[in-house]
C-alpha cells in the first residue's frame, strides 16, 4: 500500500493540483485518510512494473521459494486501492509451480549484469521524467498560469519519485568523485544533502531578485540554487514573503519588495525553466555516462578487472556502499532529524527538517527510497527471477538472513505505506507514528550493518581500505 497524503498541503496560494485535490479535502494540512487518486500513478520505467501511489502493499514473505520473500510484482491496474488496511503479514500460501525450470546457479557476474541493466533503465526513465519536467517548465515560463504550474508540479513529483529510487543507486557516475567511477553527478540533480531545503531558500530568492538564474554561469554555480530541491521551492511555494533577513541586500535595498506578485510568479516560472532544463541536461549526462553509446560506465561496471574495479567483489562493494543511504540519509536525517533525535534539532520536534517542505511529499519520497533499496536487495525486475543481493545471500548460505532482511524491509514499507496522516502531519499529531517509521527502518539497517556486510564480506569504499592483520 502506498503512503497517503502526497503533497497534501502546499503552503502556496496557487490552485490545487489534482494531486493535492485528491490527497486532502481542505486547503490546510488536514490528515488525509483517502488513498491517492489514480492520477498520481507514476510510470516506473522499463524493467519494472509500474510503481504507483496506489500500488498494493508488498507481498508477504515467501518462505518456501528459492527467492526469499520476494515482493510480488505490483499489478499495473487502474483500479484505485479499495482499502487502507495493510495486507496481512506472514507467510503467503505458496503456489505450486510445476515445470518451472531450475534457475541457474547464482554468480556475482549475473548479479552485476542485472544491477547494471537496472541502473541504466532507471537513469533512462529518469531522463525521460526530467525532460518532461523541463518541457512543462518551459511551457509555463512562456505563459505562466496556475494550470501550467500545476502541470510542472505534477512533473516534478513524477520525476522526484523516480529519483528517490535512484538515490539508492549512488554508485558509478552518480557517486562522489572519491568513489570508484564517481563523477559527482547526483549532486547536480538533487542537492538535498541532509539539510532541509528551507536552509537555502534565501539564496534562491536572491537569485530570483537578481535574476541570477539567467546568467551564463548559473549552471556551474552553487548546487543549492539549482536541482530538484530548488525546483520544489520554485514550483510549490507561491508566497510573496522572503526568508532573507533585513541584513540581506534584497531586503535592505528593497529589491524584493519591489517585485510584484505577477513579476514574482513570472520570475519563478523562468527560474524553474532554467533549473529544470539544467536537471534534464544532468539527467542526460548521467544516462550517457552509463550508456554503452556514451561513456559506457555500464561496460566498466559489468566487466571488472579494469582500472576502476579490480574484480567482481569490488563492484559489489561499491553497490553495497550505496545501501547505506538508508541508514545515514534516510533513517538519521530524513526521519531522525524531524523527530529531534539529533541535537541539531533544538526543539521537541523539527517538522521543518522534513525532506519535502513545499510539496509535502516526504512520505512518498521515503517510500520510494525503500523501493529503491528493495530493487537492489531483491532485484529490480519485479519478478521472482530478478537477481538481487538476497540471491547472493542465499547462495552463500544466508537464506535465513535474506528472509529476515526482506521481512524487515516489508515491515518498513508497510509502516510507511500505512502512515496516516503523512509524515509532516503525523509529527505534529502523533509523533509515535513517525518514531515507528524510524524504528522500522532501523530494523533494516541493523541487519545491513552487521550480518549483511559480514556474510558477504563487503568492504565499503568509504571506509578507506587500510592495512589489516
Amino acid at each position: 500500500m502506498p503512503p497517503s497524503g502526497a503533497a497534501s498541503a502546499p503552503n502556496t496560494p496557487i490552485a490545487r493540483s489534482p494531486l493535492q485535490a485528491s490527497a486532502t479535502p481542505s486547503e490546510e494540512s488536514e490528515p488525509s485518510p483517502s488513498p491517492a487518486s489514480p492520477d498520481e500513478r507514476i510510470d516506473a520505467g522499463p524493467g519494472r512494473p509500474s510503481t504507483t501511489p496506489t500500488e498494493p502493499d508488498v507481498a508477504p514473505t515467501d518462505a518456501g521459494s528459492d527467492h526469499p520473500s520476494r515482493p510480488e510484482p505490483a499489478p499495473n491496474t487502474d483500479e484505485p486501492e479499495p482499502s487502507l488496511e495493510p495486507e496481512p503479514m506472514g507467510p503467503a500460501p505458496v503456489e505450486p509451480e510445476p515445470n518451472v525450470p531450475t534457475p541457474p546457479a547464482f554468480t556475482k557476474q549475473a548479479l552485476i549484469d542485472e544491477i547494471g541493466a537496472c541502473s541504466l533503465a532507471l537513469f533512462d526513465t529518469f531522463r525521460g521524467e526530467a525532460a518532461a519536467l523541463a518541457e512543462a517548465a518551459s511551457a509555463n515560463a512562456e505563459a505562466p498560469s496556475p494550470d501550467g504550474q500545476l502541470v510542472v508540479q505534477e512533473r516534478w513529483l513524477s520525476a522526484m519519485l523516480v529519483w528517490q529510487r535512484a538515490e539508492l543507486f549512488r554508485f558509478g557516475p552518480a557517486a562522489m568523485t572519491t568513489d570508484p567511477g564517481g563523477r559527482g553527478l547526483r549532486d547536480h540533480i538533487y542537492a538535498w544533502n541532509r539539510n532541509p531545503p528551507g536552509n537555502n531558500r534565501c539564496r534562491i530568492e536572491q537569485a530570483i531578485a537578481g535574476q541570477g538564474y539567467a546568467e551564463p554561469g548559473f549552471a556551474d554555480g552553487l548546487v543549492v540554487v539549482r536541482t530538484l530541491a530548488a525546483l520544489e521551492f520554485l514550483t510549490f511555494y507561491g508566497g510573496t514573503d522572503t526568508a532573507c533577513t533585513a541584513f540581506d541586500d534584497i531586503v535592505a535595498q528593497g529589491t524584493w519588495a519591489a517585485l510584484g506578485e505577477a513579476e514574482l510568479m513570472a520570475r519563478r516560472a523562468d527560474y524553474a525553466h532554467v533549473a529544470a532544463t539544467d536537471v534534464a541536461r544532468r539527467a542526460e549526462d548521467l544516462y550517457r555516462a552509463w550508456s554503452p553509446d556514451g561513456d559506457d560506465f555500464l561496460g566498466t561496471f559489468t566487466s571488472p578487472g579494469n582500472g576502476t574495479f579490480v574484480d567482481e567483489q569490488s563492484v559489489l562493494d561499491a553497490v553495497g556502499s550505496a545501501f547505506f543511504y538508508l541508514d545515514k540519509d534516510v533513517k538519521d536525517f530524513k526521519v531522525g532529524m524531524p523527530l529531534a533525535l539529533v541535537p541539531e534539532c533544538p526543539k521537541a520536534s523539527c517538522p521543518e527538517a522534513f525532506e519535502s517542505q513545499y510539496a509535502r511529499a516526504s512520505t512518498l519520497l521515503l517510500y520510494e527510497n525503500l523501493n529503491g533499496f528493495e530493487e537492489l536487495f531483491a532485484g529490480c525486475g519485479g519478478s521472482a527471477d530478478a537477481l538481487g543481493f538476497d540471491d547472493w545471500l542465499v547462495a552463500v548460505g544466508g537464506e535465513d538472513l535474506a528472509l529476515r532482511m526482506q521481512a524487515a524491509l516489508d515491515e518498513a514499507q508497510r509502516v510507511v505505506a500505512t502512515l496516516d496522516p503523512p509524515l509532516e502531519d503525523a509529527l505534529l499529531t502523533d509523533p509515535s507514528k513517525v518514531s515507528a517509521v524510524h524504528q522500522a527502518i532501523k530494523g533494516v539497517t541493523d541487519l545491513l550493518k552487521t550480518e549483511f556486510v559480514t556474510l558477504l564480506d563487503l568492504e565499503l569504499p568509504s571506509s578507506v581500505a587500510t592495512d589489516n592483520d
Binding site: 546457479a105 547464482f106 554468480t107 556475482k108 557476474q109 549475473a110 571488472p304 574484480d311 567482481e312 567483489q313 541508514d327 545515514k328 538519521d332 531522525g336 529531534a340 533525535l341 539529533v342 541535537p343 521537541a348 547472493w392 547462495a395 552463500v396 548460505g397 544466508g398 532501523k442 539497517t445 541493523d446 541487519l447 545491513l448 550493518k449 552487521t450 550480518e451 556486510v453 559480514t454 556474510l455 558477504l456 564480506d457 563487503l458 565499503l460 568509504s462 571506509s463 578507506v464 581500505a465 587500510t466 592495512d467 589489516n468 592483520d469
Partner: protein, 462 residues
C-alpha cells in the same frame, strides 16, 4: 641447580656469533619501515587516519596524546621515511632508530583504531634493535668510525630476536584453537567467499572443504613454523613454506607490509652468517669477508643484559595471556585482545546507536557514531567495547559543551561476530558515561553469543 642453569644461560648469551645477521636485519628493518611510512603518504592515509577524524580513541593512560597539526603530521611521515633510510644505512644509527621509534610509537598512540599487530611487532623489533650493536658493520657509522667495527655479536641478541618471532607465531596458533577456526572455518570461509575472483586459486575456494583445510593449514603453520625453522634439516623447506604462506596471505588479504616483515624477519632463524654466504653466492666475496678488526665490545651481553632479556621475555609471554584474567570469549569482549598476536581470528561488524538522555530537560537523542567518527573508526569501534565506552564519555562531554547540561549515555550495540546473528555487545541499561575506563573486568559487556557461526558457501566465479 638454578645457578647452574643461570650460568649456562649467561654462557650461551655471551657466546660470540657472526654479526652479519644483525646488520642484514637492520637494513631490512629500516627499508621496510621507510616503505611503510611512504605507503601512508602514497595512499593518503595520513589525512584519513590522523587528520580527518574529529575524535581520536586513546589508549588507557595515554589520553594526553594529541594529533599534530596536519602539516606537521605529514612532515612526521617524511621524517620517518628519512629516519628509516638512516637506520638501513646505519647512519647515526641510535639517534635515527630512537627518533624513528618515538615517532612511530606516537602515531600508534594517537588513535587506537589504527592498531595493527604488525605495527606492534615492528615497534618491539625496533626496540630490540636499538639495544643491539647493529650499526657496527655494513653501515655509514662503521665507515665513519672504524673503531666501532666488529665481526661478532653476542648470541643473546640472536636468541632474543628469534624468541620474539616465535612468540608471534605461537600465540597466533593458540588464538586459532577455537571451534570457530578449526571446526567451522570461520572467519576464514567468510573472507575466502569474497575472494573467488582471484586468478587460479580463487576457483578452489568454492570447493567443498577448502576453507576448512586452509584453516587447519594456517593453524598448523603458525604452531610449527618456529620449530621447523630452528631445526637445521627442516629449515630450508620450512622457509620456502613460510614464503609461500605469507605471499598467499598478501594476495588474499589487505595486510600491507606484514607478510614482507615476516618473510624478512624469519631469516633470523638461519645461521648468523647467512648474509655472508649469500653475498659469496652472488660473487661479492670482498664485502662478505669478516673484518680483521674484531672488537670485543660487540659480544657484550652480561648478566644484567640477560636479566633484562628475561624480564622482557616474561612480559612478552604474560601480555598475550592476560585474557585469562577475564571471563568469556576474548574475541567478543576484546579484553586482552590487543598486543596478543590474535591475528585475523574474528570478523565483527556492528550497528551502534548512542542513546542520550537528559533527565533535566526531559529529552532523548539517538546518535549515530558517524557524527563523531570516520567510517573506519566507526567500524573498528563497533566491535570493541572499550572504544564504545570512550565515545560515550566523549558524547557526554560534547553535550555538556553544547549547553545541554549533564546527560546519560546508553548504548545499543548490535554486533555480528564471525557471521553469527547480531547480538547485543553491551548492556543497554548501563549509563556508560559514568563507567570508568580501566583494565578491570567489565560487567557491562554482555556475554558472547553461544551459537555456532554460519556455514558460508563460497560461490565460484561466473
Amino acid at each position: 641447580m638454578l645457578r647452574a642453569a643461570w650460568l649456562r644461560l649467561v654462557e650461551r648469551a655471551r657466546r660470540p656469533c657472526d654479526i652479519a645477521w644483525l646488520a642484514a636485519f637492520r637494513i631490512l628493518y629500516g627499508l621496510s619501515m621507510a616503505t611503510s611510512a611512504e605507503r601512508f603518504i602514497h595512499n593518503d592515509w595520513v589525512d584519513r587516519l590522523f587528520v580527518e577524524p574529529k575524535f581520536h580513541f586513546k589508549y588507557f593512560g595515554f589520553h594526553w596524546v594529541e594529533p599534530l597539526e596536519p602539516r606537521w603530521m605529514h612532515a612526521l611521515f617524511w621524517v620517518l621515511i628519512l629516519l628509516g633510510l638512516c637506520v638501513a644505512a646505519g647512519f647515526l644509527f641510535r639517534w635515527a632508530l630512537g627518533l624513528f621509534l618515538l615517532g612511530f610509537l606516537y602515531l600508534q598512540l594517537v588513535d587506537v583504531t589504527t592498531y595493527l599487530n604488525h605495527y606492534y611487532l615492528a615497534t618491539l623489533l625496533g626496540a630490540l634493535l636499538w639495544f643491539s650493536p647493529a650499526h657496527r658493520i655494513w653501515s655509514v657509522d662503521a665507515w665513519l668510525a672504524p673503531l666501532i667495527r666488529t665481526s661478532v655479536v653476542a648470541t643473546g641478541f640472536h636468541d632474543l630476536f628469534r624468541f620474539q618471532l616465535a612468540i608471534v607465531y605461537t600465540f597466533a596458533a593458540l588464538a586459532k584453537l577455537s571451534s570457530d577456526w578449526l571446526i567451522h572455518a570461520q572467519p576464514l570461509s567468510i573472507w575466502l567467499a569474497s575472494r573467488t575472483d582471484l586468478p587460479v586459486l580463487g576457483a578452489t575456494f568454492s570447493w567443498p572443504g577448502v576453507p576448512l583445510l586452509m584453516s587447519w593449514c594456517g593453524f598448523l603453520f603458525d604452531a610449527s613454523i618456529p620449530w621447523l625453522l630452528l631445526y637445521r634439516r627442516t629449515r630450508p623447506a620450512a622457509y620456502a613454506v613460510l614464503i609461500l604462506f605469507h605471499l598467499l596471505t598478501s594476495v588474499l588479504f589487505p595486510i600491507g607490509m606484514f607478510p614482507w616483515i615476516m618473510i624478512g624477519s624469519a631469516l633470523l632463524f638461519f645461521p648468523p652468517d647467512w648474509p655472508r654466504r649469500m653475498l659469496r653466492a652472488f660473487g661479492l666475496d670482498r664485502v662478505a669477508e669478516p673484518m680483521s678488526l674484531a672488537s670485543s665490545t660487540g659480544t657484550a651481553f652480561g648478566p644484567l643484559a640477560l636479566a633484562a632479556a628475561l624480564v622482557y621475555a616474561t612480559v612478552q609471554l604474560a601480555v598475550p595471556l592476560r585474557f585469562l584474567a577475564y571471563d568469556g570469549d576474548v574475541r567478543w569482549h576484546e579484553q586482552g585482545m590487543r598486543f596478543s598476536w590474535r591475528v585475523m581470528v574474528r570478523e565483527k561488524n556492528g550497528s551502534v546507536t548512542f542513546l542520550v538522555s537528559s533527565p533535566s530537560l526531559g529529552r532523548h537523542w539517538q546518535l549515530s557514531p558517524s557524527r563523531y567518527l570516520t567510517p573506519l573508526q566507526e567500524r573498528e569501534m563497533a566491535g570493541q567495547p572499550d572504544l564504545i565506552l570512550q565515545l560515550a564519555w566523549h558524547i557526554r562531554r560534547d553535550f555538556l559543551a553544547r549547553g545541554f547540561g549533564d546527560v546519560e549515555v546508553r548504548v545499543e550495540a548490535l554486533v555480528s561476530f564471525n557471521g553469527r546473528r547480531l547480538a547485543p555487545l553491551v548492556d543497554p541499561s548501563v549509563d556508560l558515561s559514568r563507567v570508568p575506563d580501566g583494565i578491570g573486568a567489565a560487567p557491562w559487556i554482555l556475554p558472547a553469543p553461544t551459537t555456532d557461526p554460519p556455514r558460508v558457501k563460497p560461490i565460484g566465479k561466473g
